[in-house]
């Protein structure tokens, strides 16, 4: 199963994530007849095999290096081939948390998309859990099927995942087993989740609650989904949006205004000296013309032209952390912040929702209509 064992050494046939640089990740399946190339050099797979996961590996030319990392759903998310917009780690984390997906959970996902969420779900529920994932797009389904099989996630290769090619909005959910009603959590990443919600009935748990998350970029999708959830007797409707920021530790110069004062004094002295020199020259000129000056005043010592080393020019480019200066540890945001992915709409379906003999519905909306 994907990321199930922590191998120490890289072997033929392994899937690994290649770290080429910060944010530059690519997946690799080790095949000793192949060679990985990047701008810093070539890496024959045969030289990668036998190395440790996480160790620095030089290119043949020794001009560059890479790391091969254990595949985790989080690294996979950064490295995977995008087939659709993907679910990023902060969203994955919030969804798993609020759907209460744990070891052994039985989960529905639709659609599969690029499989970023599928990997995280499969990892979390472990060997005793079960993940039913649905993809209606033929090409994407085929690609996912190959990928999940390679990653040993599919049930038939010892995994916990069942991938089905099906349009759940039109055809509903079919779970290949005897107890279809026993689903703990549902994750819908569909353009029209409301079309799928009404089909969920047969999958919902009778001995506990079933939780749902609908992942929609637009507010209007959320509004329509909320309506559908209410109609289908879902409760605890909650909508959140993630505010995830990535900060980088940096250094900034600790500048004292005394530096500026020293520089101003220095510049002023130079200017005054210049004025003095000019005055002296004028006096000399006058002397030459009028012959009435004293020689003693012309012995001005020339100021050296180069700026003093203790008074750097203000525009000089200073290397961050240069030990000649004082620095303050600070923090900066990445220059482009992912400010929105999707709204996350959650709800809970309780066993009592379909019973007739419970007390009447008490809700504020009912009264406000």
């Amino acid at each position: 199963m994907f990321s199930q064992t922590q191998k120490q050494f890289i072997e033929e046939g392994d899937l690994a994530i290649v770290w080429l640089g910060k944010g530059k990740l690519t997946p690799i399946v080790l095949n000793s007849t192949e060679t990985l190339h990047n701008q810093f050099g070539a890496y024959p797979h045969s030289e990668l095999i036998g190395k440790r996961y996480g160790q620095q590996i030089a290119s043949s030319s020794k001009q560059g290096f890479i790391y091969l990392l254990h595949p985790t759903p989080e690294l996979w998310t950064l490295a995977l081939p995008h087939r659709t917009q993907i679910v990023y780690t902060p969203d994955v984390s919030a969804i798993v948390q609020k759907l209460r997906i744990v070891e052994g959970s039985r989960v529905i996902e639709a659609g599969t998309g690029s499989g970023s969420m599928t990997h995280a779900l499969s990892r979390t529920i472990g060997p005793t859990g079960k993940l039913y994932t649905f993809e209606y797009h033929e090409t994407r389904y085929q690609t996912a099927l190959k990928e999940f099989t390679d990653h040993k996630m599919m049930e038939d290769v010892g995994g916990n995942t069942v991938l089905t090619h099906r349009d759940v909005c039109k055809q509903g959910f079919v779970l290949k087993e005897s107890s279809p009603e026993d689903i703990h959590s549902v994750f819908l990443d569909l353009p029209a989740p409301w079309e799928a919600i009404e089909h969920l009935g047969p999958c919902l748990r009778k001995n506990g609650g079933t939780r749902i998350c609908c992942f929609s970029p637009c507010m209007e999708q959320v509004q329509r989904t909320v309506q559908s959830l209410r109609e289908n007797k879902w409760t605890e409707i909650q909508m959140i949006r993630l505010d995830h920021k990535l900060w980088m530790a940096r250094k900034t110069r600790d500048m004292d205004i005394e530096e500026a004062l020293d520089r101003l004094r220095f510049v002023k002295r130079k200017r005054l000296d210049g004025l003095e020199r000019r005055r002296q020259r004028q006096l000399q000129e006058n002397n030459t013309a009028d012959d009435d000056s004293s020689e003693t005043q012309t012995t001005v010592v020339e100021e050296p032209r180069a700026p003093s080393p203790t008074l750097p020019a203000t525009n000089k480019r200073i290397r961050e952390g240069d030990e000649a200066y004082n620095w303050i540890n600070v923090c900066k945001l990445e220059s482009e912040v992912k400010s929105h992915t999707s709204y996350l709409l959650f709800a809970l379906h309780l066993p009592s929702a379909n019973e007739q003999n419970t007390a009447e519905v008490v809700s504020a909306e009912k009264e406000s209509d």
């Binding site: 620095q56 909508m239 290397r319």
Partner: protein, 479 residues
């Protein structure tokens, strides 16, 4: 846990969410009466056997039944939004005593909830001035005060973390559910994993991890006092206590002294062997003490060996002690290619830690088959951290009432940060082969950054993007 169904059994823990949004923690002990103050009281027996997460109402004194919906969680505070309302203290004509009397009637079952609210509504002078929506909200808000309904929540990370944050945020170092969730995700927590955990949040993080893997994992917890502070664990129920987790072999604990100075510690607890005859000759209480001390020593030794073996799948760190002072002990125990996840309530702490970790190097012995040779040889190597990021994660909640969608007007200000990194191993000979020395030289000569770009690309050997000046600084340190 999950496969057993979500039925409340005898002595199970239950979080009671009241109409006021306050949450209380109880155990479903049989034949007990639970008093919810002004919201009434009920017998635990009527709760046992019900499903978790259902809504209940007290319909007769001490009796409860399931009701289908109770949407107070979606209601906003009307006073903040109702522009029609001119505030004045005298809006409520109904006297306090009358309300108390009505509530008394409610408790004895002689008055239905809705009737009470109707009476209260009629006595408010501003009620008729409100829009029908505002009226509905007014009713619902009053309901929060007078309805005898509650929600029986199943213990889980989100419920427990919120409960602790409301009660004592300092005790859990301001840990929010979203932050715990992101830590577990970034640490690649999965069933069967082996984790090194430092958790001074009353084990809120540890409990969350155990919930996530359903106790199918091996955790080594390092704690700063003689015993770990595990006060949150019992909130998950009896199978999550420190004792139960240890019995289940999913938890080991060592205090910092055990971790830092294992040999001396072990020596002090060593018990000389007694030969069988001498043992038989001991008094019963001495026998018992001998066996106890032997077992204690064996367990301590085993725990220390587990820690010494290191190679944990991840480090998760929540502590009052500055990471700068502890990571030198912990990082060598983390496996290569494994995540290091450090939490702090303060960004500043993680900025300092991040700067310290950029230049972290730990020499290790590493043997490798070199090109052209057959036998593995020792090479100079040192472990480092890759991809240092500081995460800030907040979940913003929205009201999604029909026609009234907007973010909640106020949210709690607890907010922490997470530093994440991956442990890797570097080699001096690779650094030497790269352009490192050249760059160093260039940095000293203060050549411009632009010039660098036209030269043949050669990769830089550390964690940050090659063209940030910080990288150069870090390289200088690493050297």
């Amino acid at each position: 846990m999950t496969s057993e169904g979500d039925v409340i059994r005898e002595n199970d823990p239950v979080f009671i969410r009241l109409p006021s949004e306050n949450v209380r923690f109880i155990h479903a002990k049989p034949n007990n009466t639970i008093s919810l103050g002004k919201f009434g009281s009920f017998l635990t027996n009527s709760l046992i056997g019900q499903h978790y997460d259902e809504y209940f109402e007290i319909y007769e004194p001490r009796k409860i039944r399931v009701v289908q919906r109770f949407t107070n969680e979606e209601l906003e505070d009307e006073s903040k939004n109702n522009k029609e309302l001119v505030d004045s203290g005298s809006n409520q004509k109904l006297q306090h005593e009358e309300i108390e009397k009505l509530k008394g009637n409610l408790k004895t079952g002689s008055l239905k909830d809705e009737k009470l609210i109707e009476q209260i509504a009629q006595s408010s002078t501003t009620f008729d001035k409100k829009t029908s929506f505002a009226q509905a909200k007014y009713l619902a808000r009053k309901g929060e005060k007078y309805f005898q309904k509650f929600h029986a929540l199943k213990p889980c990370m989100e419920v427990i973390a919120r409960y602790m944050l409301e009660r004592d945020p300092t005790k859990v170092l301001d840990l929010t559910p979203e932050t715990i969730g992101l830590m577990l995700t970034l640490a690649n927590v999965r069933p069967g994993g082996r984790y090194l955990v430092v958790d001074e949040s009353g084990c809120l993080l540890l409990g969350s991890l155990m919930e996530r893997v359903n106790r199918k994992c091996q955790v080594m917890l390092i704690h700063p006092n003689e015993q770990p502070n595990n006060s949150c664990l019992e909130l998950w129920g009896s199978s999550f206590t420190e004792e139960a987790l240890k019995k289940n072999e999913s938890l080991r604990t060592l205090n910092w002294l055990h971790a830092v100075d294992p040999e001396e510690e072990l020596r002090e607890f060593e018990v000389a062997d007694i030969d069988p005859e001498a043992f038989e000759a001991l008094k019963p209480r001495h026998k018992k003490r001998y066996l106890h001390r032997k077992a204690f020593y064996a367990k301590l030794k085993s725990d220390m060996e587990d820690y010494a073996a290191g190679n944990y799948d991840a480090l998760l760190y929540v502590s009052n002690y500055h990471p700068k002072t502890t990571l030198k002990y912990l990082l060598p125990k983390v496996g290569l290619s494994c995540p290091v996840i450090i939490y702090s309530p303060y960004q500043n702490t993680l900025v300092e830690t991040s700067h310290a970790l950029v230049s972290y190097t730990h020499p290790v012995s590493h043997s490798e088959v070199q090109e052209g040779t057959e036998k593995p040889v020792e090479v100079e190597a040192f472990d480092k951290l890759l991809g240092l990021d500081i995460h800030e994660a907040r979940q913003l909640s929205y009201q999604v009432l029909p026609g009234r969608t907007h973010p909640l007007m106020t949210q709690r200000g607890d907010m922490g940060y997470i530093l994440s990194a991956i442990k890797v191993r570097n080699f001096n000979n690779i650094l030497a082969a790269g352009r490192f020395p050249k760059r160093s030289l260039r940095a000293k000569n203060s050549k411009s950054a632009k010039r660098t770009k036209t030269e043949t690309p050669v990769q830089t050997p550390v964690t940050e993007p090659a063209d940030t000046p910080m990288q150069e600084a870090a390289e200088a340190c690493a050297k």
